[in-house]
Symmetry: C2
DNA sequence: CGACCTCGTTGACGCACCGCCAACAGGATG
DNA sequence: CATCCTGTTGGCGGTGCGTCAACGAGGTCG
């Protein structure tokens, strides 16, 4: 990815050049955070003039958004097959899959968690929110619910909170080393099971923010 | 706080001046995020030369850290009295207190959550981590445990994950409006109760990352 | 009451970074 | 080989931040 320097004015296809610059940006932003990386760094890593970065990506922030999108989708490797069995077994299987996945791409996943910090920027928040919703969809399919696509329901809200929980728990395992893998597994799977079977039914029976008393 | 402009070269006590600038910084950073606010903005809001901000706080980032510290501690209003009754009742009371507290200072709390985003900066992460640990201590006292001060135990790890869960759930209520207050209450209290009575005991009985098999 | 001293405060300088754009040149075409 | 298209360059203008020497408000002392 890192072009060996010195070659001047090499003319590439726009697509290839764009991918190359994006790759360098992913590598740098994945390692060092938004304002520790300058567009000059990225251009240098790609062996390219600084202006070209703006030419392909407009603004530094726009480039960053694309990088976060990449970081958030790469470690996904989407859970395609829903495990069999009762709910407990399915949750267990999905937890195993999840922990395997992030253990395999630890660096990328941790980088994604670091970069995908829903700060104040609304565009960045939107990108992260989209990734969250996708995760919620997975959990819903896991629970055997057809995901009313993207309703602002209490069900989805509770699961979004769970996603934050799961991420934090996984960070405890992978980054801080304060949980073993087995402990993390128990923490995530049991909490999700309880949430789905006990807590959420109660929540859904209570009156919502303004509408749907028992819609999910 | 916002000094009416034009007054030139007014000489204050260092403490007062420092507090004044910090106040303006809190107001601005609370509303607009790190790189949407320039030190010139802060200086202007305080009716002061830009250089003075650096004189009192060194770097813009150091100032930001102080602001986050303020934002994280202000909405605390520390839970002093532990409710009576069994665990369920105590958790219930504490949840009520928590939701009351953040409802009272919604703006400040949301601002704090926006600012206290554990991005890549290690110093910022440290400030946030400290606030998290304080919250975990509250929960531990709630559960009747004497908080082994700051051990890297699986117990604390699980509770840190819960803190992320609670914050996310509260945001669903306050910001997105996807949960009613009652629903949020049920979500937070029941999840914490289950965590304390069912999940954590199981976790603690499993082998840890390397040590304490059943220490908490 | 005026000279003097202290230290809070100022304004400007240097530097790094970003967005923009006119000019340049690689390489395909005829 | 001449010509055109367009990917690419390098520099210009503007902004924001950290530093520093100089300034002056306000108290002190003779």
């Amino acid at each position: 990815m890192s072009t060996s320097a010195a070659r001047r004015r090499e003319r590439w296809e726009p697509d290839a050049r764009r991918r190359q610059i994006l790759g360098c940006a992913v590598r740098l932003f994945g390692a060092r955070g938004y304002d520790e990386v300058s567009t000059a760094d990225i251009a240098a890593a790609a062996g390219v003039a600084r202006g070209l970065v703006n030419h392909y990506f407009g603004t530094k922030k726009e480039l960053y958004l694309e990088v976060v999108r990449v970081l958030l989708t790469v470690p996904d490797t989407a859970l395609t097959t829903i495990p069999d069995g009762d709910l407990t077994a399915r949750v267990d299987g999905a937890t195993t899959w999840f922990l395997d996945a992030i253990a395999r791409h630890t660096d990328a996943w941790v980088a994604a968690m670091g970069a995908a910090t829903p700060g104040r920027d609304p565009d960045l928040a939107a990108v992260i929110a989209e990734a969250d919703e996708a995760t919620v969809d997975v959990i819903l399919r896991l629970a055997g619910r057809t995901p009313h696509p993207r309703a602002r329901s209490p069900l989805r809200a509770a699961l979004r909170a769970y996603v934050a929980f799961a991420r934090s728990g996984a960070m405890e395992w992978l980054v801080h080393g304060s949980l073993s893998r087995e402990q993390t597994h128990v923490l995530l799977s049991r909490t999700l099971t309880t949430l789905l079977t006990e807590t959420i039914p109660v929540i859904s029976s209570r009156s919502g923010p303004s509408e749907q008393p028992g819609s999910w």
